[in-house]
């Protein structure tokens, strides 16, 4: 069959358009690469959440048990230089972590006291929205997960996170890991990381490392979808606040005040 160059280009262009159009329409309708078992409409069987009690935490000044446990469990590098530090859980002064609650007359028991902050695993996470390669996504059990194989290190998620929960690896972190834990990978330079709610421990039925390490029981972890869980009891009996609620991110980390 004799076909002119113009004819070939026309057919080729139309075919390309058809294929691209189908992909585009599929993608626009939200059928991005399957997030973990998303079933629209079905109520989740698991919704992991954390309740933090800053008052209990403040009882033991200078304690870093949760931070050390997290660092050890996940090979989080300890970098002294605050410009380049990598942290999954850390302490922030009350006025910085929960700014709208602070005023000149803030309750003395909280003023300047440490509040543990980490990734909120938001229900409506802006970081997931902006990631161009879906290296971060919201799992069905509520955890905002990271895939360090996929991450291109653009740091768009860092810009998008309203809480400063994410850290970027500015260089190879391995020299800054005191004790390498073989049960968890390290990360490499050029990728973003954050608290993962110890999803690898949850898969084995263990609580998050920070929760286990806290002797004051200031961190309570559980399943929001289970009405009998401790987190549900706390939320229903005590007054809790979340960080920057006006942004609509719906954090799954609650603070008892």
């Amino acid at each position: 069959m004799k076909i002119s160059r113009k004819g070939f280009l026309e057919i080729g262009g139309l075919s390309l358009l058809a294929v691209a159009g189908k992909t585009a329409i599929g993608a626009l309708l939200g059928k991005v690469e399957a997030e973990t078992g998303s079933q629209p409409g079905a109520a989740p069987a698991t919704r992991w959440a954390m309740v933090v009690d800053p008052a209990k935490c403040a009882e033991k000044d200078g304690c870093s048990d949760c931070i050390n446990a997290c660092n050890k469990a996940h090979n989080v590098p300890v970098i002294k230089d605050p410009q380049h530090e990598v942290k999954w859980i850390w302490r922030e002064p009350f006025e910085n972590a929960l700014p709208t609650q602070a005023s000149a007359y803030t309750e003395k028991k909280f003023r300047g006291k440490a509040v543990m902050v980490f990734c909120n695993h938001c229900d409506n996470p802006p970081c997931v929205r902006v990631c161009p390669v879906q290296a971060t996504w919201k799992r069905q059990d509520g955890i905002v997960m990271m895939d360090w194989h996929r991450c291109i290190g653009c740091r768009y998620c860092v810009a998008a996170c309203p809480y400063g929960s994410r850290s970027f690896n500015w260089f190879d972190p391995r020299p800054y890991i005191a004790e390498m834990n073989p049960d968890f990978p390290t990360r490499t330079k050029g990728v973003v990381e954050k608290c993962n709610f110890c999803e690898e421990r949850l898969a084995k039925g263990q609580p998050p490392a920070c929760v286990e390490a806290c002797k004051e029981k200031a961190l309570v972890f559980g399943n929001l979808a289970d009405p009998q869980s401790e987190v549900r009891q706390l939320l229903e009996s005590r007054y809790t606040i979340r960080r920057k609620p006006e942004l609509g991110t719906q954090p799954d980390v609650f603070y008892l005040v």
Binding site: E33, A34, T36, G37, N75, W137, R139, M145, D147, W148, H149, D172, I177, A178, E179, M180, N181, P182, D183, F184, P185, T186, R187, T188, E199, A203
Partner: protein, 132 residues
């Protein structure tokens, strides 16, 4: 051609340098010897048939990583019915190939393949060494 001597000498040196990899390996016998990975002593059967692993272990690992990380499924049903946990360090390196230098690196170095897996995935030997 006045500079015949210089030109031919130069050409010979150039050819010698260019073909260095070939005649060096021939002399040392590395090419004919092959990579010689040291197989695990206890386990005789890998998670997949030998022939498949030889050609496509990278595909298996990629598949494991997509399934374990992105789909939160950690259990792998092998061809022979056995189940394994999909973990490079946890299953492959801890269970069988306990010495990465003697196994994985042998073939990779021979083939000139630089894999990036080890930038993140921990070699258990390294971890034991670094423990205080």
């Amino acid at each position: 051609m006045r500079d015949r001597g210089v030109i031919y000498t130069g050409l010979l040196i150039f050819l010698g340098l260019m073909t260095f990899p070939v005649w060096h390996d021939l002399a040392a016998g590395t090419t004919s010897r092959g990579p010689q990975p040291i197989l695990p002593k206890q386990e005789k059967q890998c998670v997949a048939p030998l022939a498949y692993m030889r050609t496509s272990h990278m595909n298996l690992l990629m598949d494991w990583r997509e399934t374990a990380v992105r789909r939160d499924v950690h259990s792998y049903k092998a061809f022979n019915g056995k189940t394994y946990n999909m973990s490079l360090t946890g299953t492959c390196l801890t269970g069988c190939h306990t010495n990465k230098d003697e196994f994985c690196d042998r073939c990779h170095n021979y083939a000139g393949v630089s894999v990036q897996c080890w930038e993140c995935h921990v070699d258990p030997k390294l971890a034991r060494r670094s423990a205080p």
